[in-house]
Symmetry: C2
Subunit: 203 residues, 2 copies
């Protein structure tokens, strides 16, 4: 029997650098798979179905919701976004590790349904640094920036629901830690039932 | 406050290759510390107190037992052997990782007293291979070899009390996994209370 892949959930507040980390991690681990979301928003030029998103009609999406086909979903500015359950599970069954970059609310929903995943919370080196990053990133006005920062600040409290915390100071260092986490998780006793049974069987 | 070190317990059946792994790991991680045992047996030529063992009289050793000074101890062929608790705890408080190479009975005793340690079970690639290694190693007769193998076989069942299982097929690979485990454990949310409090405090 083929060994199952791991679901690696990369989450954390806006501005922590989840995207950069996932991109770098994928470069180092091309055999893994970046989870593709489904959405009802219209494809932009150059976006491909199954690569950037699975593009769905609202009706299709709502049928998927009814059929419990999402690990998590949310509605943002009138469009649905969601993580298809079957796609992820199929790849995991094939033995491929799947990486999922997702906000904190989404990650908590995924955890309810799939607690065998590895939940990694990415944090900035400090909240001061996070503020700087949020300010630098946006062209938004001060009110929106403050709102984002306060939201990030509140979200830090959800960290206790995660397995790991990785400080994103130097990206390469953060990626190295995530790689170590994945390798270590594969050595966990509770993920090696089959090997242990083989040894106990004397082979 | 200085971050505490980790207690890394390397255990497994006789013939799994614990010693080789620990030696290699220490070469790669010279800042860590190999836990030195206490014993009542006489020092052999070249053995130094505090390096190879802490040499104690039987009276001293028994006083230490009474004072609960051991993480674990056992009597083998009339001599005491034990892992001093204070020495290990002092080094951990100083922020140094401590590696402890120990048999399965000893490891289980350490776990009762120090469950924050990382308990790694080293296994051979197969029980067949373990048999070969035990046969190769000793000059003992067939009866002793069989006894050792049967004991290793029974001990495999204790694996469920460990956190990790590492197959010792290629030593470098096994050491790389242990290094990943140590790095990953340092990222665990429950080992980063202080960092999380800092972030929650807004700094």
């Amino acid at each position: 029997m083929k060994r199952k892949g791991l679901l690696i959930v990369i989450s954390g507040p806006s501005g922590a650098g989840k995207g950069t980390i996932c991109k770098k991690w994928m470069q180092n681990n091309p055999e893994a798979l970046f989870s593709v979301s489904a959405t009802t928003r219209a494809p932009r030029p150059m976006e491909q179905n199954g690569v950037n998103y699975f593009f769905k009609s609202e009706e299709e999406f709502e049928t998927m919701i009814e059929q419990n086909d999402f690990l998590e979903y949310a509605q943002v500015y009138g469009n649905y976004y969601g993580t298809p359950r079957k796609y992820v599970q199929q790849k995991l069954m094939e033995g491929r590790d799947v990486i999922l970059e997702i906000d904190i609310q989404g990650a908590l929903k995924v955890k309810e349904r799939f607690d065998k995943g590895i939940f990694i919370f990415i944090v900035p080196p400090s909240m001061e640094e996070l503020r700087t990053r949020i300010v630098k990133r946006g062209t938004e006005d001060a009110g929106i920036i403050l709102k984002r920062f306060n939201s990030a600040f509140e979200e830090i409290n959800f960290i206790q629901r995660y397995n790991y915390i990785v400080v994103n100071d130097i990206v390469e260092e953060a990626v190295r830690k995530i790689e170590a986490i994945v390798l270590a998780e594969k050595c966990r006793v509770d993920r090696n039932t089959e090997l242990i049974m083989q040894l106990q069987g004397g082979t």
